[in-house]
Symmetry: C2
Subunit: 311 residues, 2 copies
DNA sequence: GATAACCATGCAAAATAGGTGCATGATCGA
DNA sequence: TCGATCATGCACCTATTTTGCATGGTTATC
């Protein structure tokens, strides 16, 4: 119920360029430019200034954007309370999450909602955590599932969002099936210290988890290969190129020559998966229901994962 | 920056009928109907129900309207703060007031603003106090000048408005120029107890002031005639039909055979004139400036009135 | 109990706001 | 200097919104 042009301005405050704002909101750059100009005209405020080949928020613009945070939150809160009090159903629901969450958690959630609320139009967007926050601001999605990142530009206390922990997803070790330890059900990271490791490129979300896990046990692993997708990582391991860490949420789905081992000992790495919503909307019945479904699914998957892969 | 359809819903909550909402907002009834239907569709809430030949808010609708009060206030507050912080100028400014206020206070205010802020488009609407509040809700005007009414449906602490006292406008007595007391400069109400009085129809704003003035001194005046406009009242007095009470703010502008006398004694009736704005907007520089101009003008008129009419 | 007044709404047509795509100009990095 | 990037203006188009009138249902009046 907040004017779309103000939302656009808020997205611009995140992106810094008209083009990126257009991409994120789904408009064309011309439309964003026109919207922001119109916003300035209606409000009688100068919100943007030319800055080199781009534009930049004025002090007034920054002030307005910052001040609009509680406004958005209050609207979300009101909307949620009205939905709850009136037992109403909203027509559209957008959810977003990073790759493994999208596949493992969001897809089942969408399926469940589709059956329990047939009239609800659910849209799922796969996007990395940073983009998920942007999509929340842009109101393209209403709920995001992300991995908690300490180095994130979105703090826990950001006035725009509310976050709740969904689960701590433990990292397992995957090793080739013909590896000497393959018959074990669990290992310690020490036992694999001398193995060639496969990880993601330095700087990625996963890589920081990787290093954190080994610094916890005081071991410096040798990084032999790099992969981006879990699929690739699993294939590398299956080909005997090395060993790797795989979140328990990520499925092996019958990969050849790969076994998953639980990690024991003092280094028990895990990635924290949290759900994020726009502040104020947390009490919405639809979001509450979704959080419940997500958590139930997560628990179910985590407990079932090891059993099903151990035949 | 709040969606126009929510504003329309808020106006409807005041009026109760689509037609009245249309009249107040400036839309056609069909447009209002379509807007409210669209609002329900977008929010996924049922806000209206059929009720006889009209429609009525549902519980959800009432909840939403009540809850939107602080939302509007917060936006107004943010807007005002941004205007102040950024030294910006808004393009449009609507002011409204009842007849004598419109002529005596709003017209000069508009003229002043026109010269000090040439780029500002000022619109003046004459409307009775109740309608002024509705126009504020409908965002047709940003500032209203009204007479404070205890019997008003808009309390002093209404979450939608903020009110500041502009002035206490004393009521003077006007009598025919050939009346025995015409040479006096002031009278008490007791001295005029036996005169035939001219007032407005019972139930009007002015009438309650009239009766309050006389109950304060314990006299029951004889009401001989009724008039609606000050013009008419003055003409009646000039024709020798009786005497009347005239706010000092209302000008005689050279009426024949009429003199204005100050009232002394314990019964010193006055009408309280207050400025009302949407809650949150009181800190807006434009509104602050306007309030200052209004108050200065009011003081100037009040002090000048008696002198100029005493030649 | 019939008639008139009132109220909301559906529909077709018109108006208008808003969006797209391309071209342009300006700026920055190589 | 050249190419890349970015914002914006313009012409065209789309889609939303509004209007005016007609309709159906409801209440008040006589």
């Amino acid at each position: 119920m907040i004017d779309a042009r103000l939302i656009t301005l808020r997205v611009f405050a995140r992106c810094g360029t008209i083009g990126a704002t257009a991409e994120l909101t789904g408009y064309s750059p011309s439309a964003v430019s026109a919207q922001l100009r119109e916003l300035q005209r209606v409000l009688g405020m100068q919100l943007l200034t030319k800055d080199g080949r781009g534009v930049r928020l004025t002090a007034t613009g920054r002030f307005l954007v910052a001040g609009s945070d509680p406004l958005i939150a209050q609207w979300e809160s009101l909307r949620a309370a009205a939905m709850e009090a009136g037992d109403q159903v909203q027509p559209h629901f957008g959810i977003g999450g990073f790759s493994s969450a999208a596949a493992q958690l969001l897809a089942p959630l969408a399926a469940t909602l589709r059956s329990t609320r047939p009239e609800l139009e659910v849209q799922v967007l796969e996007a990395d955590p940073a983009r998920c926050f942007d999509l929340l601001v842009a109101e393209r999605i209403d709920l995001a599932v992300i991995v908690a990142m300490q180095s994130d530009s979105y703090g826990e206390d950001d006035p725009r969002f509310e976050q709740t922990v969904l689960l701590d997803d433990p990292l397992d070790v995957i090793i080739p099936g013909n590896h000497p330890l393959a018959s074990r059900s669990s290992v310690t990271l020490d036992e694999l210290a001398s193995e060639p490791w496969i990880t993601e490129a330095a700087g990625s979300t996963y890589h920081s988890l990787f290093t954190a896990a080994f610094t916890a046990v005081g071991v410096t692993p040798r990084i032999a290969h790099e992969a981006v997708e879990w699929e690739t990582l699993i294939a590398f391991v299956g080909a005997g190129l090395g060993v790797g860490l795989l979140p328990r949420l990520a499925p092996l789905h019958g990969a050849d020559n790969v076994v998953r081992l639980r990690i024991t000992g003092k280094g028990k790495p895990a990635r924290r998966i949290v759900a994020a919503v726009r502040r104020g909307s947390i009490t919405s019945p639809l979001i509450q229901e979704s959080l419940g479904i997500l958590q139930a699914n997560a628990d179910r998957i985590l407990t079932a994962r090891l059993e099903e892969e151990d035949h």
